[in-house]
């Protein structure tokens, strides 16, 4: 039944998209984020859905769209370069077969991120993509929020729509994404024109923000808690009464503790006691291995190269509780643990190990460049006199904050190529190139008005 509804829904959307081909681009974003083929059992599984819709989006752009207004930015160039480089390391790397698994979806994410800004030619398109990204992620966030309220969740236990750990459905990733898009939700509720601000939009946004904050509680991903912390600090930048805000935030945080499930608080306490925590110790061991590997192979080992690693590290005994899995023969002293094929657990080290120093440099350029460009836009438009441009600076801030939260979250999760984040990058590039073009158009004054009349009258001609 669900299958038929999904097929009908997609067909209806695609039918509407024939009227405005840009809608195909939005449908592709929807398929990429929600992955309806994973929610269905037979019909959508059997067709290469994303390929078909991407083809439609691309054809729609080539045939029907006005290419004059499209701009190609430096960061799109770097993404294209990174794509070629990743292709090279995938075929030439240490584990070509393993690398192909990841290359298979990474190239699609990068190609779409390079293509997407070309289509973002109008303000409404930028808003529409933002709305789509938020609402698609909301499908997971709402269900996760309600389930957390009902059951309290659990690490790896909170099932979001499907029992599948891929894409956004993975606990740490959805925690990071849910928090990162809170600034975008708030922007839409204030500056949206598709759903103009009214009481319904306000309540929906409020509930959605609350659900998003519950996601890290439900998934018990520690990354999520770090992201909430970063978001709280970032919000301090622009609130009028900083001390009041900080005091309120601390108070709300303290008041929330008794309501949090005990398993969550216990897990979050392991952030402090990381030496006795296996997951944290593995990370440090993997990172050390990655640095050694990158020094020996500065050009990177290709995707999934972590599968080569063999780790040996010592775990300090936990003062509070005993792990039942390990046989402790002595009460004192560290426990030695041998591990292999551990994932990077950090996007920075993921890039360093897989794509080497050149890959890490390109990756940092794309992401830090985005944060910097949004700062430039914010400063340029924060005091704008034009009512039609009032939305620009707040959107730049929201995108910048989302990006900073991602950069902080990705310190501890390997999500260097998360397609959702590349859509965010594409959105930034789209906003940037759009505003640059509009500024040029606005500055172009008919030639007769460019020369002050006084100069003409005083001239000796």
């Amino acid at each position: 039944m669900r299958d038929l509804i999904f097929v009908g829904y997609l067909l209806a959307l695609m039918l509407l998209a024939f009227k405005r081909p840009f809608i195909f681009t939005l449908i592709y974003a929807y398929i990429d984020i929600v992955a309806p083929q994973r929610l269905s059992y037979f019909l959508l599984n059997s067709v290469p859905l994303s390929l078909i819709v991407f083809g439609m989006a691309f054809l729609g752009y080539v045939i029907a769209d006005d290419k004059q207004d499209s701009r190609f930015s430096v960061r799109q160039g770097v993404m294209a370069l990174l794509l070629l480089y990743c292709g090279y390391t995938s075929f030439q790397g240490a584990l070509p077969e393993d690398a192909m698994e990841k290359w298979d979806w990474v190239w699609k994410a990068l190609v779409f991120a390079i293509f997407l800004p070309l289509t973002l030619r109008t303000k409404l398109r930028i808003e529409a993509l933002t709305l789509f990204m938020v609402l698609c992620a909301a499908t997971l966030i709402i269900t996760g929020g309600i389930k957390t309220l009902g059951s309290g969740g659990g690490y790896g236990a909170l099932v979001l729509l499907v029992d599948d750990n891929a894409g956004l459905y993975e606990g740490s990733i959805i925690s990071m994404v849910a928090i990162a898009i809170i600034p975008l939700m708030l922007w839409l509720s204030k500056h949206g024109t598709i759903f103009p601000p009214d009481w319904r939009v306000r309540y929906f946004t409020l509930a959605l923000v609350f659900a998003a904050l519950l996601i890290p509680v439900g998934t018990q991903a520690r990354t999520g808690l770090i992201c909430i912390g970063v978001l709280a600090v970032l919000q301090l930048r622009f609130v009028r009464y900083r001390f009041l805000y900080a005091g309120m935030a601390v108070m709300v945080g303290l008041m929330a503790i008794p309501f949090l499930p005990q398993a969550f608080t216990e897990r979050m306490e392991t952030i402090q006691n990381y030496k006795a925590d296996e997951s944290a110790s593995t990370r440090i061991a993997v990172w050390e291995w990655t640095i050694e590997y990158a020094n020996a192979n500065p050009m990177g080992g290709g995707f999934n190269v972590y599968r080569l690693n063999k780790l040996r590290y010592e775990l300090a005994p936990d003062q509070n509780e005993r792990e039942p899995n390990y046989d402790y023969t002595q009460d004192e002293g560290p426990i030695e643990i041998i591990d292999e094929g551990r994932a990077f657990h950090s996007s920075y080290f993921e890039m360093l190990g897989e794509q080497g120093y050149p890959g890490l440099a390109m990756w940092l350029f794309i992401h830090l460049g985005g944060i910097w460009r949004m700062e430039v836009l914010r400063r340029r438009y924060r005091n704008t006199q034009k009512a039609a441009q009032e939305w620009v600076a707040p959107l730049a801030i929201a995108l910048q904050h989302a990006h900073i939260i991602y950069m902080a979250g990705s310190l501890f999760v390997g999500i260097a190529f998360q397609p959702f984040v590349y859509m965010l990058v594409a959105l930034q590039i789209g906003l940037d190139t759009y505003m640059t073009r509009r500024a040029k158009e606005a500055a172009t004054i008919p030639i007769g008005r460019q020369i002050p009349a006084s100069r003409l009258s005083g001239a000796t001609l």
Partner: protein, 63 residues
């Protein structure tokens, strides 16, 4: 149950969004932006103050 509620809610909103988008002409074509004010740059200000005084803009003089 919760899953279906969440899917129905967001998919309904996405559909309304698409429905509203296809009816908006500014999805594909925008009006040209409001032109910038002629800049009160150093040179033009100096030229104005010699002839007309600082309170008059080049626009008003031209008119």
């Amino acid at each position: 149950m919760i899953d279906n509620f969440s899917i129905a809610l967001t998919h309904g909103l996405l559909f309304i969004a698409v429905w509203r988008l296809i009816q908006r002409p500014d999805l594909d074509h925008e009006d040209p932006p409001e032109p910038d004010q002629p800049s009160g740059g150093f040179y033009s200000q100096r030229g104005e103050s010699r002839t007309n005084g600082p309170e008059q803009t080049p626009e008003s003089h031209h008119a």
